[in-house]
Subunit: 371 residues, 2 copies
Amino acid sequence: MTKMTQIGGASALPLNTILAGDCIEVMNGLPEASADLIFADPPYNLQLKGELHRPDNSQVDAVDDAWDRFDSFAAYDRFTRDWLAAARRLLKPGGAIWVIGSYHNIFRVGAALQDAGFWILNDVVWRKSNPMPNFRGKRFTNAHETMIWASRDEGGKYTFNYEALKALNEGIQMRSDWVLPICTGHERLKDDQGDKAHPTQKPESLLHRVLVGSTNPGDVVLDPFFGTGTTGAVAKMLGRDYIGIEREEAYRAVAEKRLKNVRKFDKAALEVSASKRAEPRVPFGQLVERGMLRPGEELYSMNGRHKAKVRADGTLIGSDAKGSIHQVGAACEGAPSCNGWTYWCYKKDGKRVPIDILRQQIRAEMAERPN
Amino acid sequence: MTKMTQIGGASALPLNTILAGDCIEVMNGLPEASADLIFADPPYNLQLKGELHRPDNSQVDAVDDAWDRFDSFAAYDRFTRDWLAAARRLLKPGGAIWVIGSYHNIFRVGAALQDAGFWILNDVVWRKSNPMPNFRGKRFTNAHETMIWASRDEGGKYTFNYEALKALNEGIQMRSDWVLPICTGHERLKDDQGDKAHPTQKPESLLHRVLVGSTNPGDVVLDPFFGTGTTGAVAKMLGRDYIGIEREEAYRAVAEKRLKNVRKFDKAALEVSASKRAEPRVPFGQLVERGMLRPGEELYSMNGRHKAKVRADGTLIGSDAKGSIHQVGAACEGAPSCNGWTYWCYKKDGKRVPIDILRQQIRAEMAERPN
DNA sequence: TCAGGCCCTGAATCGTGTC
DNA sequence: CGACACGATTCAGGGCCTG
């Protein structure tokens, strides 16, 4: 499967192989202007301190590997500038790069990209359908990661397969936010002890969308932080050539084994059944945020016997209970449960109208503009 | 409605007003450590092309594109550093900032925030339910903007109304991606010609979530790029004090008019689901003193696997540990910590009942007859 | 074979008040 | 200021076992 391509008669391109070593040195040893796309998942510099436990007291297996530790932002910036410069040299004139990161590092990476002369085309948000919650209730659930897509140069003739992405998205233009699950189950590679082989393995679905959208069959895709080789695996399936660079022996071994078992797709296998979505859940609070109901406004029970007042956080306060629309409704009726959506009404032009009408309005909007 | 607050007897804080002028100069004229929250929607219109001049006024030569770019990014970075420094000076020790932007500027803003000593808490993606499509089909639909939420200092005791946000989201922890429509319809302010009064007016729903989540009633919220005053309008509705700074006369005029017509929600509506941490502390010993539990009585663990005996001083003695309800619970489970209130049960009419019920009884009494 | 319950896990910058 | 003790805190999904 390994191909060697002559570039300008000078040096050869080691296609479909994993190169060992520091990515900056290795990249500088490859011929310039030889890659169509670079996908990079660099260390995030998470700066984790203590241990973290779930509410059930189990411990979170954190990313504390040596390769993710940097002495300072300045050190991380230096590292970023250096690998970006080496990467840019490798790109063909119409080439492009994707870099993924979290709020710990992505702002520094984005600024460095711009400073290096890359031209940002989009930032794309990977919205995780199943992220790890925030266990201490001190912040928002960290439910997304950010990818930056940039061309080598301003005005570069980058590849963008608009129609293919639109097809992937059920006929609607692909947006800058992608909802995809994290990598779990059988796709998640394990070592001999049954532990995860790599702490941050990316899902193939993510790379699928990246490569379908911004490369063509036969293109050369380089990944300087290859890890367990998701980029290579998806590139191979899609009929692209890959070059991986990975410093850690253990990751290279896992990736080699993985890639050996990957088969190029036939067309038919490509279509992933679009998961049909259940009726989207609409939090009652959204009616308040959107100004459809106002804090302080009175709601009336369907039977006219009870009323309650809307609060700014989307809870109700009744005569002797406060909480969600369901909880207060149940309390009013002395019932074990209650569907607040059909129980409560608001006043519109003097008439009582069920609040479920408002939920239906929001759902109608969501149906018109899905995703 | 305008309030003036004396800060340290020195200078006054012009609450609920819109200040005219350059935000950096105006901020530097206000007393330090006087704002609880800053919300900023800075400009990113860089004029990267055309009539660009270097700081020394020499015209940029079209040949050295890289320098051109460097110059303009450098100028934007300088501007960003300056207004962030002025903003940080204004924040109280437990203060925090939100900044919103797009891929054109947010990476530079994020890096500058970190460099200035702010501590990023989350990046939050505003996912637009109705974005403008990409008409030329050359990129992804730009369907989101990014907000960065950061505390003034690492370790700062920032405000986060976890329970209120969870309530807004129908009982599920609020995530870092928010789906909200853009500002249209009646909410979108128009000028006398019927054109939109401001090109980037933010929806009130966005500010509602920001302010409910990261401020308390009576807090001071400052917006250095006030525009048409969405921050002020939502702050006023929610019973927060605002300070707006805006350079453009036309925007100030629109905002003044808007704010005059905004009404504060009534008090009960502003009350928000409280966190358990805010509830009064009840020593376990009080249950024994009051005779709700008797010395010698057995307690049983929630899972039924352990038991312990109550002692007269409000400690427990288990099979192989003695101490507080928390310590003995942790020892039984071999866990690093344990909430004894929810872990231990007592027997009532043959059934196991969590001792937390008894704590709730005491708290209810305290609320009825406060000391 | 299927449904239901239990267990485990995921790029995480995840306390606070009192003495 | 540090040390110590209290006690608050999770969502989605996959695997595996049992009935």
